[in-house]
Amino acid sequence: MTALSEAGSAISHGGGRAIRRSPYPGWFFLPAALVYGILFLAPTLASLYFSLTRWTLFNSTFIGLDNFAQFFREPFLVQGLVNTVIYAVVTSGLKVVLGMLLALLLTSAVMARGYLRSVVFFPVLVSTVGVGITFTVLMHPTQGMINEALALLGVKGPGWLVDPKLALLSVALVDVWKGVGLATVIYIAGIVAIPKDYYEAARIDGATKWQNFLYVTLPLSRPATATVITLSFIGGLRTFDLIWAMTRGGPGFSSDTIASVIYKQYQAGFYGLSTAGNVVLFILIAILVVPLTMLLNRRQGHE
């Protein structure tokens, strides 16, 4: 057996140079590279140029940074930018906290664990537009079930989606409702992977439950935290379908995000401006996510 595998590795080493004989042919990259290169990379690179033009899809006139200047001059476009960041921070923050709490509950010996896991995870799989429409109805200011239930408790519910101050946060809450199951599942995996020895050592040192959580579970589930934050933060910055299904960016422009602005400019036929919005979103993601992942991973290295 050893002889065989040695002979085998000799062949694969020898064949590495001669492309024809390699068992790992380079052309295996080809189908994926073609689709990805033509339909993703090429348009992305083209967007860098077209964002600098006035564009009708047939003709483009180079206008320099005018689109970007316009983007930052229009108050509602800037508000879209601010909203995008707020939305991403709120949703990923809540998903981290609630996901962690739910995972702690669901890894303990709580009853009906299987049922609870299923019920928390199922919304992840349901259509975002369907969820959006359902909650638009549930959040109706006078007839909606949420406010009717609050009225029973003697609280006057707010106009979730019609109050400009609240609309964005209401959509963010629905996003958390839909996505917290994924965060929970990632945390469950992270927590289950922590070796039991740590808890035993902590028990011998007389640690309380709270100390257990603070000094063992929390630091050791950092990889899971990094994953949850990165995933939900990028998702939050790019969010479109839920906003579009629930408020269309309204009332006014109070819940517009960059992605909904991009769609509106596209619909209005401002293709250059729409593409500039794309580039702004891309830069925003690069500025926020790259340092964030580096920070999360560096801390992890020190542990």
Binding site: S9, A32, F40, L116, V120, L125, S127, V129, V137
Partner: protein, 275 residues
């Protein structure tokens, strides 16, 4: 911790989860059973008659059976793009994990870029028009493949790294050519991660709203998510029909969930935490 207090926490969790997570779904179901007048009240009452069947018939037959076309389109879209994704991503993951060249760094950078960079929609439309794929189902299939590749490749690469190289080598000694090694030795071994990939991507593609909205305009090509969007304006006083539609398009993900519940959770975490 006494037994009683942990019981109480459990009961509270079941109660809260029922209110927060089950009530919206029950609301969808009971509204789909109501007639137009009762559904318009938007309340959480018992349906005063069984109207699900007539609602279903109306949703399915409206606008020239658009719902049927949409289900066919969505099915073709999902099956085709997920099939291509599985094969293409597994091929890349296989060679990427096995063969170290100076291009590996570049390839991995491109994969990460694909996870982060939002697709540039208008240039993509322009490009699709140029190659004659705009507004066509196979254009959208290729789009879904392009956007899904990075995540699938990462899943496969991580998994292939755990399969011993000796297997490939033994197969080669037995006279297998590269294609045989991949399709007859490696691909079957990838089944667990393939199941995860199929589940995650098919749910994602089936539920995708944004890409069909941009790249597949027009009623003839509607996908199920677009029917919901189109019906939203048309049915805006017929909540019974709107919720029947939601119920109808939730059935496929529900079936996926029932069959693959365990795989989804296991596979997603394997990919997510390692990645």
């Amino acid at each position: 911790m006494t037994k009683l207090s942990s019981r109480l926490i459990g009961l509270a969790a079941i109660l809260v989860s029922a209110v927060v997570f089950l009530v919206p779904f029950i609301f969808i179901i009971i509204t789909a059973f109501k007639d137009k007048q009762q559904a318009a009240l938007l309340d959480f009452s018992w349906p005063n008659g069984f109207h699900l069947w007539s609602n279903l018939v109306e949703v399915v037959t409206t606008r020239n059976w658009m719902m049927v076309t949409a289900f066919i389109n969505s099915t073709i879209l999902t099956v085709a793009s997920v099939t291509l994704l599985v094969i293409f991503a597994a091929m890349v993951g296989f060679v990427l994990a096995r063969r170290k060249t100076r291009f590996n760094g570049l390839i991995e950078f491109l994969i990460l870029a694909g996870l982060m960079i939002p697709p540039a929609v208008v240039p993509t439309i322009w490009l699709l028009q140029g190659i004659g794929l705009f507004g066509k189902l196979h254009g959208l299939i290729l789009i879904e493949v392009a956007y899904g590749l990075p995540f699938s490749i990462i899943l496969y690469r991580a998994f292939i790294a755990t399969i011993p190289r000796e297997l490939d080598e033994a197969a080669i000694i037995d006279g297998a050519r590269p294609l045989d090694v991949f399709f007859r030795v490696i691909l079957p071994l990838l089944w667990p991660v393939t199941v995860t990939n199929i589940v995650v991507q098919s749910v994602g593609v089936f539920n995708d709203f944004t890409n069909p909205l941009y790249y597949l305009p027009g009623n003839a090509n509607a996908t199920v998510q677009l029917t919901l969007y189109n019906f939203q304006s048309q049915f805006n006083t017929s909540y019974n029909l709107l919720f029947t539609n939601i119920l109808l398009i939730t059935i496929p993900p529900l079936l996926v969930f029932l069959f693959f519940n365990r795989h989804i959770v296991a596979g997603m975490t394997a990919g997510a935490v390692k990645g």
